[in-house]
């Protein structure tokens, strides 16, 4: 049973527009959510996170929204830039699990100039 799902394998947007990447989870014990970005031939790098006590966290062009009742989170990138083209992984962890993260399948974002 996949506990973290990213249902869109790919997303293509125009430069300057908004990118919205979605993630759903099933385990109600998850209380911390993270987004990672991965370029080809590199390891994932941390992008932004949100605790379950919040519903929004913002960092520059990146905003993560959490809807606990729907077990859904989304990453908004505004405005999108060609350098944002990468694979984005959603991850979830539980305080009681000492930081062991469960990852989604990833969404490949392509931002067209």
């Amino acid at each position: 049973d996949q506990q973290v799902k990213q249902n869109s394998p790919s997303l293509s947007v125009q430069e300057g527009r908004i990118s919205i990447l979605n993630c759903d989870y099933t385990n109600s014990m998850f209380d911390y959510f993270l987004w990672y970005k991965k370029y080809p031939a590199e390891g994932p790098t941390f992008l932004i996170s949100i605790s379950s006590i919040k519903d929004k966290n913002e960092d520059g062009r990146f905003t993560v929204f959490l809807n606990k009742s729907a077990k859904h989170l989304s990453l908004h990138i505004v405005p999108s830039q060609p350098g944002d083209s990468a694979v984005y992984f959603c991850a979830a962890s539980a305080y009681t699990n000492a930081g062991k993260s469960t990852f989604g399948d990833g969404t490949t974002l392509t931002v067209k100039p």
Binding site: A41, G43, S49, Y95, A98
Partner: protein, 113 residues
């Protein structure tokens, strides 16, 4: 900045060979993890370690073992490589507090022929 170094970027091995993947981190992190990344399957946890000489199975430990003789080094061992272990292997580390972000190495692309 934290640096997680994986000894090889690319490896090609034969079926049945014993394979060692090495990972070293330079920030005195307590926790270390091994993930594999496959298309459409995201990142899956193989093994992790919260302390020297300590190890715990992740979600897909079959066919793998690990060694953590020193705090900074975490090795993944494929006892008898098989073709279904062809994958991108990613090492990661965190300080130890729950829900911390992971710092990843650049990955090792292993091909088993």
């Amino acid at each position: 900045d934290v640096k997680v170094t994986q000894s090889s970027r690319y490896l090609v091995k034969r079926t049945g060979e014993k394979v060692f993947l090495e990972c070293v981190q330079d920030m005195d992190h307590e926790n270390m993890f091994w993930y594999r990344q496959d298309p459409g399957l995201g990142l899956r946890l193989i093994y992790f370690s919260y302390d020297v000489k300590m190890k715990e199975k992740g979600d897909i430990p079959e066919g793998y073992s690990v060694s953590r003789e020193k705090k900074e080094r975490f090795s993944l061992i494929l006892e008898s490589a098989s073709t279904n272990q062809t994958s991108m292997y990613l090492c990661a580390s965190t300080q130890g507090a729950p829900n911390e972000k992971l710092f990843f190495g650049s990955g090792t692309q292993l091909s088993v022929l």
